[in-house]
Symmetry: C2
Subunit: 210 residues, 2 copies
């Protein structure tokens, strides 16, 4: 296991990662809009800070290193960069679910309906049946975890496929929207790299994690 070309453990530049680095980026570059929206376009989902995402990927790897992950599943588009850089450490492929509007036709795909609280509508997400199945040990990854709808859609797809989900990781959990705690109550092995407990235009308050 592990990315063959990866020497992070012996490279000081790659031993500095802690949750605080991500939290500092959120504090410095995040834009809070109203009370529910946190924009991190500057490093996570429009412009991508590759060094930061690589370090985050290493941290996810260390969290799930003993889980025999053989596939990472995410959703287009904003989860892809984070998932791909994380997958290097697991030395496994990434499969990303595709959004297909409201269309629920199931021509060779597993589908799940995902409600978007941001846009107030439903999307169907789909994964080709050839790319996830029995024997897979899946780590689900997404950039944001809010109400948990996207993750629950991916959990449903993996269940339909007969795959084992060993855990879920997200970069930023909006703790005040409840999706993460709801998943934890359901026994999901969830790792959030930063959890925002409350925020407004003056302040972003993170949940302490050890």
């Amino acid at each position: 296991m592990g990315f063959p070309g990866y020497v992070g453990r012996s490279n000081p530049a790659f031993c500095l990662y802690d949750m605080e680095l991500l939290e500092r980026n959120i504090t410095q570059y995040g834009q809070v809009i109203g009370t529910q929206v946190l924009k991190v376009d500057g490093f996570l989902n429009h412009k991508l800070d590759i060094r930061l995402l690589t370090q985050m990927g290493k941290d996810v790897y260390e969290h799930f290193a003993n889980c025999d992950v053989n596939k990472i599943v995410t959703i287009e588009a904003s989860g892809i960069g984070y998932a791909v850089l994380t997958a290097q450490f697991f030395d496994c492929p990434v499969v990303y679910a595709k959004k297909r509007g409201a269309s629920n036709q199931s021509d060779g795909v597993y589908t799940a309906k995902v409600h978007s609280f941001t846009h107030g509508d439903d999307n169907v997400v789909a994964i080709d049946r050839r790319y996830v199945g029995k024997g897979d040990r899946v780590l689900i990854l997404d950039d944001f975890l809010a109400h948990g709808e996207a993750v629950r859609g991916l959990l449903s797809i993996c269940e339909q496929a007969g795959a084992t989900v060993v855990g879920v990781a997200c970069a930023i959990e909006k703790g005040f929207q409840g999706g993460g705690d709801s998943l934890r109550r359901d026994g999901v092995n969830l790792y959030s790299q930063a959890i925002v407990d409350r925020m407004d235009e003056h302040e972003i308050v993170f949940r302490p994690q050890n």
Copy 2:
């Protein structure tokens, strides 16, 4: 320049890349539909082969290593994985243009209209003005190059932003659709890792490259 944690040059597993590896994957896993559509869902744009994409990224890096690239620009969603793994070698950020249907409103973004021959409609793609600008030396990346519409949209955005485009790279050029040769005639420094000159359900024929 170069990815700090990257030791590919001294690791035999990462010295095997040649164009043939990509061509072999296309031949083995590609599905030709009709005469115009080539599906490579199995390794490039639904399930992602991270090792292959990393080797392709290294090859792109070697092609443009002397161009002082400081930013990679691509389009969501299928370009992101390829762009991110390539960006590691350049040690630079990725900015991906977002698709926004037919909406051309320009609230703080550069936009370009991109015609899709596959879907027969127009899409507007947009990049926040904060994330590309004067002083940037941009490498444009995309998974497919067909009629060249997406690349021309990104060229237009970079021109609006005053950025310098040092080159364009794509994984697979569908040579018979003319977009690549048209860009070359216009003086664009284009590098296609594999060029399909013709294809049908029996055969995929690649253009020889040296």
